[in-house]
Symmetry: D2
Subunit: 467 residues, 4 copies
């Protein structure tokens, strides 16, 4: 059997795959964060399945790319329908679903934000971020410095790495001449002693505002009322940073400062968009209007890397951002836009604005219950079905990455028990200290599955604590 | 009928789509290079079809992303099969086709180049280029300056724009601190007077070599034998630059200089890979071994934006490029790797190494015949089914963008005649002066379709010259 | 009389000079901060004199470049002696005073800091800063990002502007790819409400230390214990920033953090060095050891732009920083080194370590007395003869630049009265809000002159407040 | 005897100085290009003297900083006179010689170039270059990329190193995000085979012009007629590059291209200005008008590091380059401007426009005669008293740095013979291969001294060739 044998893909054993992977595959991505890497063969709803057929309840759903469940029949059907209609068309030409998807998103934004705007597509979240950087730099006369948050994550191209806080992502790669200025994010659980979360939020805003107090704070020239920085890149709820939900007033207060000094607001909804938090865009919870909004991941439920941005008309109209400003071969590929359009329709019909908060509350209650039984759970929190549980030492505060790593390994081992059968658990690790379980279950998860998740987490934690 | 009406996509008229697009869609990509944009509804083999059902013989095939014909049944079936097997899996986990595809590519490279190496996937050509920049910067201790060619094109992220020659792609976006040094490419048709193409090739190599003569040429410190530049990014045959084929010895001679001074060779096969030139990789024609090879586009025949790179073991082994070096959500999405694997198998079986040169010779002969009848065709050339025809004024040399623009518009109007029926022609414009028809027909184009293409080009040119 | 007439210089009237200056001279420096610019003709001790012979008591002494009084006979004589001995020698060759001056400074540092080190000369403070940037970047494997303070000032070359906080100094000049990260400085008078200066100092240190808590704070990779930033540029007492004296423990605490994370300490003594604060280097007050120390200005009492740096042996020894690393034509010009050496000897003999604190205390007492009579003086403070008085509105806090501007204009008008005669006052304006009188009188100012200064300030302020 | 002993400077032995220097002095400048470094004690006219009193005929005059002879009585007197009049004045205030010197230079430029303009002072050539970069970046809306020449040298600050060709000067210091594009300079002796110098000059201009042919050559956007590069930095005659004199039409032809594409011309006269070539500015030989002209070195005959720039009114008028745009403490220090003004008067009176070409012709004739006797002299050339002799192997072409290094060492040994007495020779080494004697004798050198120089060179070369 060689690689050109069609039957190879399914028949080939895990051992052979791992052996091949060790020889021919880059380790540079995140597959080797666990050793040996886990191989999956099938997926459905909230579950992944390995070669042995063991189900793994997935609480991360491909980092929130599969909000609508694995192998969602309706979305898979939309993809197949488009394969049979118009699978390919060069990005220089139009096709119906591209136009319809842009219109759907723009009309929604117009209704919610009261602003005309336009949509620009690309593939991969980082490329949409790169497009947004180009849009902002163009709109601001070439200004290329950005604010972003400590704990923020916007991708791994060179440009996206410049505005992503973690130095680890830049260290190997030389100089980054557009490195962002990273501003503290009001992380409620790890706030300074003696402050409430709200006070910490106000403190963070004040810290930002003081940058503009005098020219000597470094970013503002009061003589001409001009800032050195063009835009502020924000995730309303930090994704990789650990599903950190800021106090409700935070963005409203921050935006006041930004408006005063002409700093554009670029909202990164790549991980939190598409009803993850109970609304199409997570920024809708916070009472502010974005200048640019970037989306990706769940737009196609993982069936196509389509991504994109919406921007206010002033920033993106054809006079300002004319033909040829940016481009990529697959930027509005029809398989992607067809599925994206179906996602928008599905979302419209599914009443997620009601069900997601309900399920989120159920899940969070379960986590809180779990917390009462395990003092190693330092913090639980969430918005909709973006939930977090922070794993600590027994003091409930000191980050305990080692314990969480054991939990992940046990979950992937697939030998937890449910109804007398083996089952696994897929968890994602995030957070500033890599000690946060960032929970992004399927939006269609059932209440029974939520209870199962809590039960499995309990098993997992109990075993992991045993060492 | 609203946007959430499923029947909308197909039923909606071109007029409505254009009206919606004008309101809600960014014009920043290349759709508005023609006005009004052209809308296609269906595709098959070498043809696109518009709402009226008029066929358009496509001689560009989505900039060479659809080498294997539109709606290729075998590849579409592979995609559907994967949808039914494992449509989604987080990029942190392995799945069979990811491993198999990496192995297939790496084993092929090992056989051809005599080098061990590994494959790293991403989505979108530009993101694979960004990954290659990270790989090179990492391998070269953070050095971030690159050589690239005048006329070269590597994508439109900020990093890719830095190594893409056209200043137009950077102008709106402020400072580019890693702007490449662009080296002249031996463009045979526009070579200096009095030189043969081979002499021009040697001249270009010498011009490059003299940069290293003394420290005062600016890039080389002879005291420590170290260069300021890390790698040379090359398209073996320029794509956007106008399908320019350099003299056969060019890369061999250039590589000697690069080896002498420790400059890595990064080969961009995004447009010319996958048998476009009659070999899997176009660099195979030129007798040199790449250090890094970047691919995309036709890897999935346009069904998924999967892209990737292959690199020599020394540059990419897990010690040098360890877990977490780079990452993207969709980087090895299973729908992409499944189709990619099927493309590799199809290519293996289809005997393109024989048929593509034959068809290419047929097509080129037709173009040469056309050139004899139209003195406005200044140059025709090609390698395999990557062909070029340079449109000039009557002197056969002065670039005539206006005439080519008229040709494109007439082709898209869809009222050429074939067998008494209306037919259109899809052409792509490239070249340093935007006066080159860059021809990338389906690799499965028939000899009859080639004859038709020539006949339609003849009609087109005759009409376009009438003004 | 034309410009080649030798008598022109003295005979030419102020009116003619101003008319010529308006036509032929750049306004880009700071001369036109007052309109019309003031012209001086003679200087002696603590006084400048204008064409009318009116004396101006100078409380800024050329921004602390003339610590030893104008026309200091001993230093002028040293300069003349060197003119008669060896006025010129190419910087490629040695001469006695260059060696002696380096030795004097290095031995003093060795005694005080317990560290071997070496001296490198240049001309102009900013060029010495540039040399220090090169030294640090070299020592840190090319790392080019620096920390510096809000309110900090290090010069106006492009490199120095990158680490100088005020955005106004960068705004006109495009992108600065090595812009420093500016850290809050514990400015006692403008500390947050409810904190003591010491608490604010501790707060600032903690704010800095938290940058290193996790990789997501943006500057530290805990996996390899490496920082993104190479060094921290500090003025122990801010100069242009308004002669701000931090709490005594500040640098000791800050340095602990820096040492923990391998951040070099570069101390800029250009304005505060040479006994301005009562010690040769102002950093001596703060109990920390610099890695690099940069000096200029008073090194020659204004008679030559000689500047330089001292660095720890590890950073500057010939293996690490070999011949040819940096260079300038005038870098150790003999007129400069001769005067510099005489300044070191004079300082050694003059007992400034005792007299400067005494005079400073006298001056500060006078300012405090003044403050009691003028509520517009919001703050007075000082270390040695580096003193500050902050001009505010009647609330004693809101910065009042307009009032200070009037004071400056009145001072330069030269019609204050002393002993029945007209007299002027030369003041310098600094501070984050440009409302601070930064007082740097001659170190040889007499106690009588100090009393006169206070009396004149009283007159000035009284008149200025009248509108 | 300690360092505070006044008699130390003169009495201290060479041995002691060398020992001290080895311990306390940075080796990072160019002193250790010869080992051991040479120490001089006295200077006069064309001679330096060492501790033994041996005279050294100096043919480099501090890299052309001392055009008017060492210890020039008139200029030394001007300096002393200013010490006695107004030795110090803060750069915020005006003084007569500052205004007069600016006027003198600006009126001369107006007469010669037919352009109004203004003068801005600083200290050190590199700082004037930095000011010019700021001026150009400001005038070009922040554009920060520059053209410069291969072989060009503009100083060693970070900004100046970016536009200086030699990579060696950047290598140790990390990333340079504004690295210039270095254009070939028509170096007559090392021109391509088969071309005359004039043809090479035309070739270089054409190579530059072709950069603007299409957008794909990388620097020009023809759609908006805008260039990526702001200015071209040129030395009319390369200094450090080896006193290379380009063919007479070169700059005229180059400027035509620059004017067509809006590239500013910045002329660096730091080394070749002040009658070195027989005219105040060396660019006057070439029939072009600068946009900015930068000067330094001989402006004060080495008595003060004063430098500066002249710029066209459009670029530097107070609206465009307003107060506070740039600044340095010593930028128009009165000792510098007084000597500078005296230099301008001396130059006016000395008839250098006639004597320098005469003496240059005499010297060049001597070099040509020497060349006939020594085949190792590959090339001699010059303009005025900027002369070159290229030291090669016996083939008269291959650079022979080793031989020239021996010559330099023998010259500095001081044991050549003249009139039965020992004498030395001070030579400077330059050129792309470090094999060029760059001759810059005093403009007041006598014809007898020229003959002596030739005789000593003959002795030197003869001895050096013996090994």
């Amino acid at each position: 059997m060689n690689v050109f044998d069609k039957r190879a893909d399914e028949a080939i054993s895990d051992e052979q795959l791992l052996a091949d992977e060790a020889l021919y595959s880059s380790y540079g991505d995140t597959v080797h964060y666990v050793e040996p890497p886990k191989i999956f063969r099938r997926c459905e709803g909230s579950y992944m399945f390995d070669a042995a057929g063991t189900p793994f309840l997935d609480l991360q759903m491909w980092y929130s790319a599969c909000n609508f469940g694995y192998a969602n029949p309706r979305l898979d059907a939309a993809l197949k329908r488009q394969i049979d209609t118009l699978p390919q068309v060069a990005s220089q030409y139009l096709h119906p679903t591209r136009v319809q998807l842009a219109k759907t998103i723009a009309l929604d934004a117009q209704r919610k934000f009261g602003l005309k705007g336009r949509v620009h597509f690309n593939v991969g979240g980082a490329q949409a971020i790169e497009d947004s950087l180009k849009l902002v730099r163009n709109a601001k006369n070439g200004k290329s410095l950005m604010f972003a948050f400590e704990g923020g994550y916007h991708g791994r191209t060179l440009g996206a790495s410049s505005i992503t806080s973690s130095y680890r992502y830049r260290r190997r790669f030389g100089h980054f001449g557009e490195r962002a200025m990273f501003i503290p994010f009001p992380y409620p659980f790890r706030r300074p002693k003696g402050m409430t979360p709200e006070e910490y939020s106000e403190h963070c805003v004040r810290q930002f505002a003081r940058l503009f107090e005098t020219e000597y704070n470094g970013v503002w020239d009061p003589k001409v009322s001009q800032a050195e920085y063009a835009a502020f890149y924000v995730e309303p709820i930090q994704g990789t940073g650990g599903y950190v939900v800021p106090p409700p007033n935070f963005f409203r207060e921050l935006k006041k400062v930004m408006d005063q000094y002409g700093i554009l607001l670029v909202v990164d909804e790549i991980q939190m968009g598409f009803w993850r938090t109970g609304k199409l865009w997570s920024i809708e919870h916070f009472g502010v209007t974005p200048d640019v909004l970037v989306f990706g991941k769940a737009l196609t439920n993982g069936l196509n890397p389509l991504s994109g941005l919406w921007a206010r008309e002033e920033l993106i109209n054809p006079q300002v951002f004319p033909p040829g400003s940016t481009h990529s071969t697959f930027n509005s590929n029809p398989l992607g836009t067809a599925v994206g359009l179906e996602v928008m329709r599905l979302g419209e019909e599914m009443n997620y604005e009601q069900t997601v908060p309900e399920k989120g509350a159920h899940f969070l209650a379960g986590l809180k219950d779990l917390q009462r039984r395990h003092k190693e759970i330092g913090d639980v929190d969430g918005l909709g079905l973006a939930l977090r549980a922070e794993i600590c030492t027994e003091d409930g505060f000191t980050p305990n990455k080692a314990l969480l790593d054991r939990m992940v390994d046990i979950g992937l081992a697939g030998d937890l028990r449910h109804d007398g059968k083996p089952i696994g658990l897929v968890l994602d690790v995030g957070g500033w200290y890599k000690n946060v379980i960032t929970l992004a279950p399927s939006l269609d998860i059932t209440h029974e599955e939520i209870d199962l998740a809590i039960a499995l987490l309990d098993q997992l934690l109990t075993r992991a604590k045993q060492g």
